[in-house]
C-alpha cells in the first residue's frame, strides 16, 4: 500500500508515503539495534521525560525561535501571552496524560515548544501582529491579533489544545492535510481542543460550551467564536469583518472548491457536529465515552481516511468498547449529517 502511495501523482500523498517508508525503516533499524543492545535501549527509555515546556518570544517578528523566555518549572512573569502558552500547554499535557495515559505529543515525553508574539511582515520591512495560530511541525506559533477583530490566540485554551493535537496527529494517523482527510485532521484538533477546555472547567457535555476560540474574537453581536461544533455555520453570521461562518453541518453542503486546501477548516463542521451530537446525547463528561471513542479512532485511522472511514471506526469502537446503546447513538449522529453506515 505504501509503495503505491509513493508512486502517487499527488505530491502531498507521495511525500507522506515516502516519510512513512523512512519511519518504518527507522523503526526496523531501531528494533534490530535494541535487540542487539538491550541495555542501551532501556537507557533510552529512562531518558524519557514527563511534562517539559519551553516558551519563545518572537518579539513581534516572524522569527519563531527568537528568545527563550520561560522553561519548565520557572516562575510566571508579567507577560500574559507567555503565561497562557505555558499554562495551557501544561493543561493539554495533563489532559492527554490523565485521560489517555499519553506522554506528550509523541507519547515519549516530547518537549512542548510555543512561540508567542509572532508577527507577519508588512510591505515596509516591518511587522504587523499576526491574526493566526499555527503548528509548524515542531512548535505552536501564536499571534497577538490586531486588537480590532482578533485578540491574542493564546487566550483560548481550546485553541492551544487544537494546535497541540495537530502535533499528536503527526505521530498517529497523520491525516493528509487536504480534502476529507484534511477536514478530519482539523476535526480531531477541534474535538480534543474543546475536550481539554471542558475537562479543565469540568463542564458536562449537555451544558458545555461547544464553541472554538470564543476568547480569540473581540466580542460583537454578529460573532461568538471561530467555530461552533454543535451548530456549524453559526459561529459568526453577517459579520462586517468576518462574513458568515462557512461550515456545513450536512454532507449535502460539503464544500468541494479549491480554497483552504479543499475546505479542511470548512468541512470539519460535519464531523464536529457528529461529535457534539454524540457527546450531548450520551450526557456526562464528553471526554469519558465520546472522547475515548474518538481518541482510539484518531490513532487507528490511516492518513488517507475519509469521513466514511471515520464513521465506520467510531461506530465499531463504540460497540466493542462500550455497547449497543453507545453504538446506536454514534451511528444515528452520522446519519443526522447524511452518512449512513
Amino acid at each position: 500500500m505504501t509503495d503505491q502511495l509513493v508512486q502517487s501523482s499527488n505530491p502531498e500523498v507521495r511525500a507522506r508515503a515516502l516519510a512513512t517508508v523512512k519511519i518504518s525503516s527507522a523503526l526496523r533499524a531501531e528494533r534490530q539495534f535494541s535487540q542487539a543492545f538491550p541495555s542501551l535501549r532501556a537507557h533510552s527509555f529512562a531518558a524519557e521525560q514527563g511534562k517539559d515546556r519551553v516558551i519563545y518570544d518572537a518579539r513581534q517578528t516572524d522569527r519563531l525561535k527568537n528568545v527563550i523566555v520561560r522553561r519548565e518549572g520557572q516562575e510566571a512573569g508579567n507577560d500574559v501571552a507567555v503565561n497562557e502558552a505555558y499554562d495551557y500547554s501544561g493543561d493539554t499535557y495533563d489532559f492527554y496524560e490523565s485521560i489517555f495515559q499519553r506522554n506528550s505529543l509523541d507519547d515519549r515525553g516530547m518537549t512542548l515548544i510555543s512561540a508567542v508574539h509572532v508577527a507577519e511582515p508588512d510591505y515596509r520591512g516591518g511587522f504587523v501582529p499576526m491574526n493566526n495560530a499555527f503548528w509548524n511541525g515542531e512548535l505552536m506559533a501564536y499571534g497577538d491579533g490586531d486588537g480590532i477583530i482578533f485578540n491574542r490566540f493564546t487566550q483560548s485554551l481550546d485553541v492551544v489544545g487544537h494546535e497541540l493535537t495537530h502535533g499528536v496527529q503527526s505521530f498517529t494517523s497523520n491525516l493528509t492535510y487536504y480534502g476529507q482527510p484534511g477536514a478530519l485532521n482539523e476535526h480531531f484538533s477541534d474535538v480534543f481542543g474543546i475536550l481539554i477546555r471542558q475537562w479543565k472547567k469540568q463542564e458536562e457535555a449537555k451544558t458545555a460550551n461547544w464553541t472554538i476560540g470564543s476568547e480569540v474574537l473581540v466580542p460583537a453581536a454578529t460573532r461568538h467564536g471561530i467555530r461552533d461544533m454543535l451548530n456549524p455555520g453559526k459561529a459568526y453570521v453577517d459579520d462586517p469583518d468576518l462574513g458568515t461562518d462557512p461550515q456545513p453541518g450536512h454532507m449535502n453542503d460539503l464544500y468541494t472548491g479549491p480554497y483552504d486546501n479543499n475546505g479542511v477548516h470548512i468541512n470539519s463542521g460535519i464531523p464536529n457536529r457528529v461529535f457534539a451530537l454524540v457527546a450531548t446525547e450520551l450526557g456526562g463528561n464528553a471526554w469519558d465515552v465520546a472522547g475515548r471513542i474518538w481518541y482510539d479512532t484518531m490513532l487507528q485511522l490511516t492518513s488517507s481516511g475519509q469521513f466514511k472511514d471515520c464513521a465506520k471506526l467510531t461506530v465499531q469502537i463504540a460497540g466493542s468498547q462500550f455497547g449497543e446503546a453507545e453504538k446506536k447513538v454514534v451511528s444515528n449522529a452520522w446519519k443526522t449529517v447524511g452518512l449512513t453506515i
Binding site: 505530491p11 502531498e12 507521495r14 511525500a15 507522506r16 507577519e120 511582515p121 508588512d122 510591505y123 515596509r124 504587523v128 491574526n131 493566526n132 495560530a133 499555527f134 503548528w135 509548524n136 511541525g137 515542531e138 490566540f153 485553541v159 487544537h162 494546535e163 495537530h166 503527526s170 492535510y177 485532521n185 482539523e186 484538533s189 476560540g213 471561530i226 459579520d239 469583518d241 468576518l242 462574513g243 458568515t244 461562518d245 462557512p246 464544500y255 472548491g257 480554497y259 483552504d260 486546501n261 475546505g263 479542511v264 477548516h265 470548512i266
Partner: protein, 99 residues
C-alpha cells in the same frame, strides 16, 4: 495594474479577497507592489507537502498592460519577493463567500 489577493485557510479557514487597481493605492504601496511583480519569478511554486497546519493559502493575480500573472502559494512557499505585495493587499482583504 490590476491586483487581486485571495487568502484562505489559517485557523479561521474563511476566504478573504481584495481586487483593486493600483491607481487606488498610496505611492509607497504601489512601489512595493511593482517591486514584487518585477522581482518575482512567476512560475508556479512546487506544491509543498509541508507539516504546517493552520497556515494560509494565497492566490495572487496581477494584470498589467502586457500580461497576466497568477500563482498560488502557502505561508511556507510564498517567495520573499512577493511578501511586500501580499503585505499591502492583506490590509484590504474583505470576507468573501465560498459558494
Amino acid at each position: 495594474m490590476k491586483v487581486q489577493l485571495q487568502q484562505s485557510g489559517g485557523f479561521m479557514g474563511a476566504l478573504k479577497e481584495c481586487s483593486l487597481d493600483t491607481d487606488q493605492l498610496e505611492a509607497d504601496e504601489v512601489q512595493a507592489i511593482q517591486e514584487s511583480v518585477t522581482n518575482t519569478n512567476w512560475t508556479e511554486a512546487e506544491p509543498n507537502p509541508s507539516a504546517m497546519r493552520d497556515g494560509y493559502q494565497y492566490h495572487v493575480r496581477v494584470e498589467d498592460q502586457e500580461q497576466t500573472y497568477t500563482a498560488a502559494y502557502t505561508d511556507q512557499t510564498l517567495p520573499e519577493s512577493l511578501k511586500p505585495l501580499v503585505g499591502v493587499l492583506k490590509k484590504y482583504l474583505k470576507p468573501k463567500s465560498l459558494r
